[in-house]
């Protein structure tokens, strides 16, 4: 179980997260929605300390990090318990698909090379890239790179995988293949927190929807409630804009 309590983050005087509380149960898929600039990315980055929260507590099961005075080893432990899939993929550019997946296993988890390799090949096959093991990121399409990114995250056996708009940098025709992979691993009971603008996807894969605005959680609940009968006016407005947007684009 992942628990965020009173997470705050300010960039200079600009308070971007104003005390976020969030609980994610094991195996749950949480989708975070909200307008641009509402702090979704910042919140996700705080969970693995790519951004240092100014206050609050992050806990994963028994393990807890007090963001006021985090120990260096706690930050490392937190990062080893989480994995992230980036909007811009961020694959290691000088390493092949296989090496990208193996890297964490060999360097961080200290697995023997052969074992790491075998596990990585299996994962790449799972995301449909069994034939691209030796390709460098520069030789892969965005969709393929992002699938390698997902395999790299899965390899670490994390307690939670954090996705920051995993498909928003992709050409529309490549979105489907990445969503299909995420859908597949969601069914395996891996805990995930996904920031996304793909409303129908969120509705379909998430067990829990969080709507953020202005650095705070406005409303949260099961997809059915949030999408069909949101309590808050702001949620309603946001969703209405989205559904009308997509109506236009069709």
């Amino acid at each position: 179980m992942i628990r965020l309590q009173g997470i705050r983050k300010a960039f200079g005087k600009n308070e971007v997260l104003k005390g976020i509380d969030l609980t994610v149960d094991k195996g749950e898929v949480v989708a975070i929605l909200g307008p641009s600039g509402s702090g979704k990315t910042t919140l996700l980055r705080c969970i693995n300390y790519l951004e240092k929260p100014s206050d609050g507590e992050i806990s994963i099961d028994e393990f807890a990090v007090n963001c006021r005075k985090p120990a260096k080893k706690d930050i490392h432990a937190l990062r080893r318990k989480t994995a992230m899939v980036f909007q811009q993929y961020n694959l290691f550019r000088h390493k092949t698909a296989l090496e990208n997946v193996m890297e964490g296993l060999v360097v961080v988890k200290k697995l023997p090379k052969a074992e790491a390799r075998q596990k990585s090949v299996e994962l790449l096959e799972k995301v449909g890239l069994g034939d691209k093991l030796d390709a460098y990121p520069s030789q892969l399409s965005g969709g393929q790179q992002q699938r390698v990114g997902i395999a790299r995250a899965l390899a670490l056996n994390p307690e939670v995988i954090l996705f920051d708009e995993p498909t928003s940098a992709l050409d529309p025709e490549l979105v489907g293949e990445v969503l299909a992979v995420i859908r597949k691993i969601a069914k395996e009971g891996i805990t995930m927190i996904i920031v996304t603008h793909e409303m129908s996807f969120a509705q379909e894969v998430a067990n829990h929807i969080v709507f953020m605005e202005g650095g705070a959680v406005v409303e949260e609940g099961p997809p059915k409630t949030i999408f069909q009968s949101p309590k808050e006016e702001r949620t309603r407005q946001f969703l209405a804009r989205f559904t009308s947007d997509s109506a236009y684009s069709i």
Partner: protein, 260 residues
């Protein structure tokens, strides 16, 4: 002036100069090695923003980049022994080559430090974040992810530096070092065929430069094999972005002509 032009002297002097390539290359190699050490030492405080050392490293880099190397040679060869005498260290009997290599080492170190800085900052910030997200320590992220990529970016910068240093060694003769240029000036003292000697000298520098350039190109190709593109629609923007960064790094570093 000299004697009437006679092409046979060009060939004769060319052959006679060949053995002196060794000395010039020796100066280049030792000063580059020294320069890599100085450059790394100077780059670290700037990369990690160490308060006082950072300033010091900036002063060092701008001094050696901003003054002619000929003056640097004179300052160190004539000035350093005097300064050291004040603290009772006698270096007046050190071979001149020691001073020459020290100066070229410090000089190229200034460029190396800028090069390291430029190359490291040219590596996308997302690479470090991905390394952290995978669970690596700062040290591991640097040595396994940032440094190898920075090195590949730095190869063309290093190539420029090596070739520039080779050309700069032609000034070592002013302190009496018998390298290529020094020899080329003494060879025709009897025959007076100076022009022929200079033509032979230019040819040798040119050939050595071209060979070095080719070698570096091979190394660069090898190290950048991961950036070779193979006709795929949507990795082009990333590649372009990267290339742009790379040329920025190159621009910051490129050494202009001879700075005597």
């Amino acid at each position: 002036m000299g004697a009437k032009f006679d092409i046979r002297y060009v060939f004769e002097y060319f052959v006679k100069l060949l053995p002196y390539i060794q000395i010039s290359l020796f100066i280049v190699a030792s000063s580059i090695v020294l320069g890599l050490v100085f450059g790394l030492l100077a780059a670290i405080p700037r990369l990690y923003r160490v308060p006082v050392l950072q300033r010091l490293s900036q002063v060092y880099a701008s001094f050696f980049r901003g003054t002619p190397i000929l003056i640097q040679l004179f300052l160190f060869y004539y000035g350093l022994p005097e300064v050291l005498k004040l603290i009772h260290i006698d270096v007046t009997r050190f071979p001149v080559l020691v001073f020459v290599i020290l100066v070229y080492g410090l000089h190229s170190g200034a460029y190396v430090s800028e090069g390291i800085r430029a190359a490291v900052t040219a590596v996308d910030r997302g690479q470090v974040e991905a390394a952290y997200a995978v669970g690596m320590s700062g040290f591991k992220a640097f040595t396994r992810i940032v440094f190898p990529q920075a090195l590949a970016i730095a190869v063309p910068i290093l190539a420029n530096l090596v070739i520039a240093t080779l050309k700069d060694t032609s000034l070592a003769f002013t302190l009496g070092v018998m390298e290529l240029t020094g020899k080329a000036q003494t060879l025709p003292t009897m025959s007076r065929h100076f022009i022929e000697s200079y033509i032979a000298l230019a040819a040798i520098y040119f050939i050595v430069s071209v060979v070095l350039e080719r070698l570096f190109l091979l190394v660069e190709r090898r190290m950048l094999k991961h950036e070779r593109e193979t006709g795929n629609a949507d990795r082009v923007p990333l590649g372009k972005k990267w290339l742009k960064k790379r040329t920025n790094a190159g621009l910051a570093l490129s050494k202009g002509g001879t700075r005597a």
